[in-house]
Symmetry: D2
Subunit: 298 residues, 4 copies
Amino acid sequence: MQLGVIGLGRMGQIVVNRVLDAGHDVVAFDLSEEAVATAADAGAEPASSIEDLMNRLGDEKRIWLMVPAGEAVDATLDELDPHLDGQDVVVDGGNSYFEESVRRAEATEAAYLDCGTSGGPAGAELGFSLMIGGPEWAYEELTPVFDAVATGPDGHDRMGPAGSGHYVKMVHNGVEYALMQAYGEGFELLANGRYDLDLEAVSRTWNNGAVIRSWLLELCEEAFREEGNDLGDVADHVAGGSTGTWTVQEALEQEVSVPLIYQALAERFDSRNEGRFSRRLANRLRYGFGRHEVVREE
Amino acid sequence: MQLGVIGLGRMGQIVVNRVLDAGHDVVAFDLSEEAVATAADAGAEPASSIEDLMNRLGDEKRIWLMVPAGEAVDATLDELDPHLDGQDVVVDGGNSYFEESVRRAEATEAAYLDCGTSGGPAGAELGFSLMIGGPEWAYEELTPVFDAVATGPDGHDRMGPAGSGHYVKMVHNGVEYALMQAYGEGFELLANGRYDLDLEAVSRTWNNGAVIRSWLLELCEEAFREEGNDLGDVADHVAGGSTGTWTVQEALEQEVSVPLIYQALAERFDSRNEGRFSRRLANRLRYGFGRHEVVREE
Amino acid sequence: MQLGVIGLGRMGQIVVNRVLDAGHDVVAFDLSEEAVATAADAGAEPASSIEDLMNRLGDEKRIWLMVPAGEAVDATLDELDPHLDGQDVVVDGGNSYFEESVRRAEATEAAYLDCGTSGGPAGAELGFSLMIGGPEWAYEELTPVFDAVATGPDGHDRMGPAGSGHYVKMVHNGVEYALMQAYGEGFELLANGRYDLDLEAVSRTWNNGAVIRSWLLELCEEAFREEGNDLGDVADHVAGGSTGTWTVQEALEQEVSVPLIYQALAERFDSRNEGRFSRRLANRLRYGFGRHEVVREE
Amino acid sequence: MQLGVIGLGRMGQIVVNRVLDAGHDVVAFDLSEEAVATAADAGAEPASSIEDLMNRLGDEKRIWLMVPAGEAVDATLDELDPHLDGQDVVVDGGNSYFEESVRRAEATEAAYLDCGTSGGPAGAELGFSLMIGGPEWAYEELTPVFDAVATGPDGHDRMGPAGSGHYVKMVHNGVEYALMQAYGEGFELLANGRYDLDLEAVSRTWNNGAVIRSWLLELCEEAFREEGNDLGDVADHVAGGSTGTWTVQEALEQEVSVPLIYQALAERFDSRNEGRFSRRLANRLRYGFGRHEVVREE
């Protein structure tokens, strides 16, 4: 199979390599010539523009987009659109909001597959988990490519119609926030508790047979090994949050309560919010009703 | 009626004054001679020791303790005990843990009334809310004093047997934590929201007729008036927490979930916990699975 | 002053009565002839249609809408619009979403005041709390009417430009949810705790001088008096939730964490969600890792 | 090495089998003769009483207790104690509260190892994760046994002095509650969301390469496969909770906030609490301030 890959950042290069390794052909394009050269070194056919890439693909074009979610996807689709017809398949492997994927699927002539991709850089060797939404025939047509990019046949599946891939990925990330915070609470308690513990040893012991073993817990083990038992100079500042916010917004719409996911997201907000106003007011109110001394900033 | 008052801090002096104003007699003692002198100026009969105070009281002794919760109560009771018999009544008006009140009630010969006291310094003029536990006859015997110290007859009631007064006060404080945090969240959102608002004006408007009007909201209004719209140099540091902790512990024992009270307490802990470990770990884990840059302390 | 009132439900009639009582003139219209007759009995001039109402108002029209939030507001504005110019003032006293108020203010020729109204039926006697957004001149022009409808001059204020009135009302309601849940947690613990308590007596004692006294707590007292100590047949089902949902959504946008407001809203969702899926899964997972017996529905 | 095993329930039998498989000798006792016979069939030397078991062990006795946490441990230790001296080692492999383990370690003459055991029945084949507290020499002495019972050398470690093994296990379980609820929230949202999803397929796809892959997620996959996409007749009722309660209590003592662990525990309480009082009160209060109809039980 011949696959066009547009967007050759870290994740895009992994897609290229895994698809090549599985014996398929890749035509690769990126705005960065250096990135195209890297893909070419790996064995891909380089394209000098989107138009050039499209010309190098056959009649039934299969194209994988690995560009940042948001405007870059629309800009790329605008350029692709004149070249696409109903026999073509476009995969968006980025982290797009599911409603935008629904909109894009409706707007394009091609079959559109929204593909939530999880696994991070570790996926280079292990392969990814791919959650895919869109027309069944297109999903089946691309199965050889998905087999290559995913951990294998069990690492990808069609979730349902347009948008469902990115929808399931959105919820995946909401759960991810909560898992991270859950482990964090446990280790925070151990770090402040009654015993002087080696948290790397705790993680390793848990990872070998305990109910809570997981890949995230392996990453905790790695973090303590590399940063030290007190996490060294790692700051109390958690960036990101868009997929978690989307998850909570969707849960509000569906009237499903997700207190753990919400609170995990709130911890991120708090980590970036110096001097929480609500607590400053509580500090002052304690003076109001109890004449407790107000703690002032120095 | 003649009342002995032991413990003449801010709250004790208010008790003395309100009981005197209602036409009763007060014998007053405190370890601080200055505090005794203040009470004497207000019209109380000064006592030079607990023994002296007991000698000045008649056969049926009525004694109000307004000493700090904890060891001071036990130390005072140890001194009182040899002078007490079953006709006497001791009121603990402090913020004792209810199980200690049950224990003390069992240990003393006298009738023991545990009296949760709420209202703070504003109670000097308005009177307090008194939640009282212990024998019914003792509660009725002391009613004239409770009428004087409370806002009036509706401002005090017998909750039930020994410990129930401090139990209800404990839960009162748990609710208080949650109310403070609830207002705080609202004002934090307004302070960071879409409009440039005058929070004192918001509070005042709410206090005049809105569903959420309350005494705590009047204290919010006062806080914004006195500290400014951004609360000036009031720090993000909320002291205290023991009654909230007791409330959550009791709720755990009863298997009643109290998520708002818990979270309000957690905000206090967080306000005193620099660099939450759980969030530092989340920061690092995001690198682990996504190669997101770790934010480091400078 | 002459005021047109459109929408004569319970709240609209209260507005009519309070404005009449303050010595102003009212022209009243509602789709229900019966409602118009009630207003006429109270002293208002009845109108047979919106057009009729507009004809009865002078050159500088002042109109108060008290119709259900949503489509009814737009439908009414569509009818009003041809009759309005820049000297006229329209007040929306309903519970509209603030962004819709901004949109409406931009769309109409008239000055548009969005007016958050709190206080419920009790406002008939006491007056309401009014949070008002829109042009300053219009707010000042309507001040006599606001004085009449509110508890008095302190019961209304201009929060800021268009939308700010409904914005502050939205946050008010978010706080309201949290306060209700906070009291509820306290009473739930008392109802399941160590003592056999009279919750009406607890509420009354708290309402007289305690830190947590409030109007909502007076309503708790009333609820226990009227429904009994165990709330009788009052169901575990809390309707509503739109303003709380808006508050949380806005807090997500502003990245302000509001854990108590969120959790209070989640309790409403849960009260309407039979058999929470997350807990059913936890029940099953305990079998998976520990062979704990799965609890099955009968 | 020769090991005495007391307590031959499901977990105790697994210990016996794994220790025998590793080539060690086992003397086994249980109050149930049938359980002893099962162990004997597997190759253990049967004991007819604790005294008999002690007589069959050599001078340096190594004993593994696998009896239910609580009174059974103390009762067993009472019988063991006359036979123990400072060269002997007792392992408590159950789920005891860490403070009781500290107390027991102090009370016995023998070296006492508290051993938190995680992994459930799946540990029969894979081995367990063992978190061990107590004297270093005793831990090293028992290492061959721990190697056999655990997944291997990485599946056990000495956490620190007496109590630390059960302490780490307690926190493990707190985290476990939160992880289960986190996955549950995600699947609840998916089950009520915009798409008609096959949750077994979602779980399988996630388990193959996604960031949130874990053993618990494998158990989710199994649950959907065995119970169906809607979990069939699995009830909304989560039993248990003691280790989660201990975790939250300890976090309160250490003033560490654990909102996710708390809320996961609260969900269990709620699942067993028909008709949450707080929500019934909220239902009624909405009538109080807004005349919203009270929902009544039928």
